[in-house]
Symmetry: C2
Subunit: 335 residues, 2 copies
C-alpha cells in the first residue's frame, strides 16, 4: 500500500464545529480509504463525537489544544495569540512535514496571516492568491484572486494564471486549462493598463500548461468556454459574492412562486425529483472551499457556514490537490 | 392640458430597429397620453411600420436621416461621422430644447461620446456615470457607475451617491434613497484608500437627499436594505454582468431540469402560471435602460438586444425622469 495522504484538520473553525468537522471526516473516509487525519482541537469536545462515528482509531490522531481562533479575532490578534491554537498547530503540521495539506473552516484573515507567517512562498511568486471553484455549463472554473490582494500588478496576474491553471490541472487532469482575464469589454481596447499589459504578455508567452483565451466579461464566466478566470482580489471578491447573491435571490423567488398556490404546491411535489436535481446541481456545498495558492504547501479554507457535507467536499479537494501534485505543478511551470 | 413630455427617439439603434422602436412607441403611448415623440431615423423604413400602428400623426414627428451609427463603430469614428446620424440629431434635439429627454438603443460608447460632445456637464460634477435599475427583494436598486469610468476618485464616488439618489427619488418618489458603497468587507477596515475616504466623507456629510448606510458586499446587493449602490465603472460593470450571467445560468439549468422527464413537463404545465409569475418578476426587460447621469440633460440608453416591450419600459423611465425633475434634483443637491 502506498503511503496515505495526511490531512491536517483544524477541527475548531467555523459554525457548529467540531461536530461538523468530525462528521465530515466520517463521510469523507467512506469513499477515500488511503487517508490519515491529523486532527487539531479540543479533545474533550472531539472524543464523544468521534467515538460515535464509523472512524477507526487507526484513521486519525487527535492533537489536543485548548485554544482556538474566533471568527471575531482580527488577523493580527489571531497571529499574536495564535501559537497554541488549533489553526496555528495544524499549519505547523504541514510546515514540519507531518501532514501533506491543511484544511480549516475558521477565520479567513487569520488563516491567511498564520499561513504566511509559517510557510514559505514558492520561489518567484510575489503574492499568494485565494482561489475557488465556480460552476460553468461544461464543468468547473477556477477563479482567482478572491480577496487576498486588493491591488495586483501585471506580474501578479500572470502568476495567478499559472497557479490557477496548475490547480485546475490537479483537480481535473483530463482537461486543458483555458485562461481568461476578467474585464469589462471583450475588445482589446477596454480595461485598465495593468490588464492590457497582462493581456499582451500572456498573448506572447508560450507555455505548455494552459491556453490563453483573452478577455472575458462577467456575463460569460459560466459559459464554459474557459475554465480559469484571473482577476485582482477586489474584483474577484465582488464578482463571486454578486453571483452568490443573485443565485440566492432567484432561488428564493422561485420557491415563493412555486408555493404561492395549492396547484403550485401540488405540481412542485410532482416535480420534486427534477427540482431536487436542479437544487443539487447548484448546491453551494459542491463548490465549497477556497484554495490559498502561492505558498509552498497547500492550504484549504472551507466556508465557515457550510455543513458536514460541504466540509467533506473540501476534504476531497485536499486529497485531489495532493494526488495531483499541485505544488510541484506550480513550481515546474512558474516563470 | 399641461405641455406634453417630448422624447427624442433614436429609431435606428440596436437589434431589429427601427421596427422594435416604433412598436415600443405604440405600446408606450397606450398608457401614457401626454407624450410627444421626436423620431430620428430613416423615414423610408419608419413610415411603413408606423402607419400600421395605432399612433396618430399628432403623437410624433419624424426627422429623416439617411445615416446611423453602427454597433461596430468605435466611439471616435462614430463621433467623426456622426453629425447627420439619427443618434447625433436626437441628442441635438435635447441640446436645442426641442426635446426633454433622449433615448437610444444604439452603440453605448458612441452615445456616451456624442452626448459628452454636445451637452454640458452639471456644474461641480467632474465625471458622468452610467446607472441602471437592478431588482432587490423590496423594490429596485439604482447601481452606478456601470462602465463610464474605469477609475474613480473620492469626489466622483460622492457625486455618484448624490446623482444615484436623485435618480432613485425621481423614479420612486415615496421612497428614501439609501446609499451604500460596494466593497469587499462590511468592516470599515477593508477596501482601498479611495473607498475608505469616501466612506469617511459620506459618514460626516449631512444632506437631506439620502441616508448613507456604509459598505455593502456583492451578496447583499439584492437584499433590499439599501437602494443606491455606488462603485467605480470597472467593478460595477463586472458585478452587473456577473449577476446577468448567473441569472441566465440558473434559469437555463432550471428549464432543463423541469423538462427532463414527462412527469416534469406535465407538472410544469400545471405550474405554468406560477412559473410565468416567476419569469415575469425576473424579466430583464423590466429593468431595461441605463441612465447617463452628470450631463445637464437626461440621456437614456436602452439595451441593444431588448425587444419592443423592453424599449417601451425604457420610455417609461424617460417619462418618469422628466416628471421627477431629475436634473433639477441633482443640481439642487450637489455639493
Amino acid at each position: 500500500m502506498i503511503n496515505p495522504i495526511r490531512i491536517a484538520v483544524d477541527a475548531m473553525g467555523g459554525e457548529n464545529s467540531p461536530y461538523k468537522v468530525i462528521k465530515a471526516l466520517e463521510i469523507h473516509k467512506k469513499t477515500n480509504k488511503n487517508i490519515f487525519y491529523n486532527i487539531y482541537g479540543n479533545k474533550t469536545l472531539i472524543d464523544p463525537i468521534i467515538n460515535k462515528t464509523s472512524l477507526s482509531k487507526t484513521d486519525y490522531k487527535i492533537f489536543h489544544t485548548q485554544n482556538f481562533i474566533k471568527d471575531t479575532d482580527s488577523p493580527l490578534s489571531a497571529a499574536k495569540k495564535g501559537k497554541d491554537t488549533s489553526m496555528w498547530l495544524s499549519i505547523e503540521s504541514i510546515k514540519n512535514g507531518e501532514s501533506d495539506v491543511i484544511i480549516s473552516a475558521g477565520n479567513t484573515g487569520a488563516l491567511f496571516v498564520i499561513a504566511k507567517l509559517n510557510l514559505k512562498m514558492i520561489d518567484k511568486i510575489d503574492k499568494p492568491a485565494l482561489s475557488a471553484l465556480w460552476p460553468n455549463k461544461n464543468g468547473m472554473n477556477i477563479v482567482l484572486d478572491l480577496g487576498a490582494n486588493i491591488e495586483c500588478n501585471e506580474k501578479n496576474l500572470i502568476d495567478f494564471s499559472f497557479m490557477g491553471s496548475a490547480l485546475h490541472k490537479s483537480l481535473f487532469e483530463n482537461e486543458e486549462p483555458k485562461v481568461a482575464l476578467l474585464n469589462i469589454g471583450s475588445e482589446e481596447l477596454k480595461g485598465n493598463i495593468t490588464i492590457k499589459n497582462t493581456y499582451q504578455s500572456l498573448t506572447e508567452s508560450k507555455n505548455s500548461l494552459f491556453k490563453f483565451c483573452g478577455y472575458i466579461e462577467g456575463n460569460h464566466i459560466m459559459d464554459g468556454d474557459v475554465n480559469v478566470i484571473v482577476t485582482d482580489g477586489f474584483t474577484g471578491n465582488i464578482a463571486l459574492k454578486t453571483a452568490e447573491g443573485t443565485a440566492n435571490f432567484i432561488t428564493s423567488e422561485l420557491k415563493s412562486a412555486l408555493s404561492s398556490s395549492i396547484l403550485g404546491k401540488l405540481s412542485s411535489i410532482l416535480n420534486y425529483k427534477n427540482l431536487l436535481k436542479f437544487k443539487k446541481k447548484l448546491d453551494p456545498r459542491l463548490y465549497n472551499g477556497a484554495i490559498l495558492l502561492g505558498l509552498d504547501k497547500p492550504v484549504i479554507k472551507s466556508h465557515g457556514s457550510t455543513d458536514e457535507l460541504g466540509f467533506a467536499n473540501s476534504l476531497s479537494v485536499c486529497e485531489k490537490i495532493v494526488n495531483g501534485n499541485l505544488i510541484q505543478k506550480i513550481k515546474k511551470n512558474i516563470v
